[in-house]
Amino acid sequence: MNCLEFRRELNIHPQSNAADFVAHARECPRCAQAQADALAFEGSLGRALAIPPPSNLAESILLAQATEQRRDRLRWRRGAGWLAVAATAVLAVGMGWRATRTQPLGDAAIAHMLGDEAPALALTAPVTDAAVRTAFTQRGVELAQVPADISYVQCCPVGKFKSVHMVMPRANGPVTVMYLVDDHDSRASDFAHAGWVGRSVPMAHGTLVLIGHDASQFDQVQHTWQVALQASTRI
């Protein structure tokens, strides 16, 4: 192997331990120096590329998978029930489905809220309208207007849904607002879990989820978002 071949190999396989590569480095001090530089660069490159993943990544994937599995089972049961029973029984199955369908969504939303982003509940300074618009645009929704008093906004998955996660400070404590884009399966329902209360409401292009300690604050927040989302467009 000559110096030219060595340098080419060095840029393709810097950590090569092929016999002729190692032999050339031993014989040629300039190439040995180039190899030392290249290995130092590889170390820096590896460190720079090692972006830390979100700390709850594995848990959020497993939660999404469990949620999907449960939905599949419920769909299957619903289909089987429809074939097996009369019209009155179909109604009962439908009601049972409704009651259990909302539970995973509520659980997923509350678990997400209490995860890494829990400190967001304490934020009170409003974010800019532009930040809220950008988050919705990322989710494929263009807001015609942005509700006031949003102290936190972030795009993140909730269970298997793609959401915009927000916090709105209110007199009796913060209300967490999650907009699950393209979730058209949920129906209006209230839920409670781990000392929190919540509400899910179908909206244009998805489902709005509200979570807090005081459900009496939900009506006003829901109305604000209903107005904003009714005038929104899916992009």
Partner: protein
């Protein structure tokens, strides 16, 4: 009591999936991040990749090839996303890449920040084989199979990727020294 072999072993499938998620989601996230340049999108991509993997887990026969299998799914998912969303991403990406750099502010003043910024500027056709080699630990033959190009083309691309990165970094360092 006789064991009913006709029923699928759900718990072992779940255990296999858990192990894959816990063992490889971090690597997949890093790969997705450098593919799309945005952390929320990377999170979505990785989640969708694993959900698809769960649905077809029975087709994974060789655990040694799990990472390559997942990366194949992730790349398809990324391509599908771009097929649907290319027009809007042209604008959003610019904003998000700038935000990401700010988000990684502590590093952006140091060597890591310079390398990350240079990686973002590197053309995708050079960046991806380099990512597969450095982050994925894949050989040139494996990268060639995944990218559907020849091994010689992979060698050329990783060679040029390193040359271009070093060239950009030399320019950035000079710029930093002058300012």
């Amino acid at each position: 009591m006789a064991i009913d072999r006709s029923k699928p072993d759900v718990s072992s499938k779940q255990r296999q999936f858990d192990a894959l998620v816990r063992g490889l989601s971090g690597d997949l996230y890093r790969y997705a991040y450098w593919l799309c340049g945005e952390d929320a999108l990377a999170h979505d991509l990785v989640q969708e990749t694993f959900l698809r993997a769960w649905r077809s887990l029975d087709s994974l026969r060789d655990t040694a090839s799990a990472k390559a299998w997942l990366i194949t799914i992730l790349r398809r998912e990324h391509a599908r996303l771009y097929e649907r969303k290319t027009p809007q991403f042209a604008d959003v990406d610019e904003v998000e890449i700038a935000d990401e750099r700010e988000a990684h502010a502590p590093e952006s003043v140091g060597e890591d920040g310079l390398i990350r910024a240079a990686m973002q500027r590197l053309d995708a056709k050079y960046r991806e084989p380099l990512l597969m080699q450095v982050l994925g630990g894949f050989s040139c033959d494996e990268i060639a199979r995944e990218l559907n190009i020849t091994p010689a083309a992979v060698m050329t691309q990783v060679f040029r990727a390193r040359q271009k990165l070093k060239g950009m970094l030399a320019g950035d360092v000079k710029e930093a020294q002058l300012s």
